[in-house]
Symmetry: C2
């Protein structure tokens, strides 16, 4: 399955850490890249730093045209899921979504353009209460990938050995075969 | 099941929105209250505002002694789960945790006191990659409650009717039986 995340409406003055968390969740839960309709060097640096240390090939593309990206995605046969507290219940539509291979997940900040609701193949609510786009994305990807994302390996980075107490981190040399 | 969330190490200058999201996730995913070892009026206001509009009885208690709260919780028979990327795999221990009724979930900011690792009954990793305490809490509570938290009703607040497209919000009068 190929998953990308489209982050809309980032406001540099207040969303730096939330958008960084959206990016880190995207990477850790198996998305290949995150697209942003704006640009924030502090988000770019934080995500690049994690990829450098922890491995894998996740990337961030800033300043994209979201309409263009969503349109090309759909033209190529991909599906678009918009996460919103107003949407359909996750449990009602997750099996339908799982039957597709290429999923773009749209995650808005406080307000998104109304046309997103029309453009999306599914508007999906992770519960119908206000909470967090970081949480919504994580639970959606966890359900989509049935927990398999949590045992992903990321090539070329540090690795944590799960531990009952304390911290056990193993370093991998980047040039190791 | 009774769940409370203990938020440690909040830094007012940078964690306002992340801690607010931790609180909103706690409420939306079925925790009864969030405890904080510090205080931040802006977090208090944001959470009180959501409870006022969206209902339920979730509350925030600030300036608690975290050692005292954890100790009383355990003395009363409750269990303590510390979410950390260094911990045991979620899938390995979730069934064990589910066999208990009273769970305190500890969610740290960037660094937590080392003694938390000893005090916790379980140190649990939601994947062993860096991502977000907001995401970790949401996925943990979703797995703990097996998705039932997403259909929770909150008495006395606005209610969203899940919708394929658009927004459908119903107001409830607080004095309605």
């Amino acid at each position: 399955m190929r998953v990308v995340v489209l982050r809309l409406g980032h406001r540099p003055e207040r969303d730096k850490r939330i958008t960084t968390h959206v990016g880190l969740v995207s990477r850790a839960f198996g998305a290949r890249e995150m697209l942003m309709d704006g640009r924030d060097p502090s988000v770019e640096e934080s995500l690049a730093d994690v990829v450098e240390r922890w491995g894998g090939s996740f990337r961030l593309r800033s300043n994209v045209s979201w309409r263009g990206e969503a349109a090309s995605w759909k033209e190529a046969g991909g599906k678009v899921v918009h996460l919103t507290m107003y949407g359909s219940r996750l449990s009602d539509i997750i099996n339908d979504i799982k039957s597709h291979d290429c999923i773009m997940v749209v995650v808005g900040a406080e307000k998104v353009p109304a046309e997103i609701y029309q453009l999306a193949d599914w508007n999906v609510a992770i519960g119908n209460q206000p909470h967090s786009e970081v949480a919504a994305l994580a639970v959606f990807l966890d359900r989509l990938m049935e927990g398999q994302e949590l045992v992903n390996n990321f090539e070329g980075g540090l690795e944590i050995i799960p531990s009952v107490r304390g911290k056990n981190v193993v370093g991998h040399r980047k040039d190791h075969p």
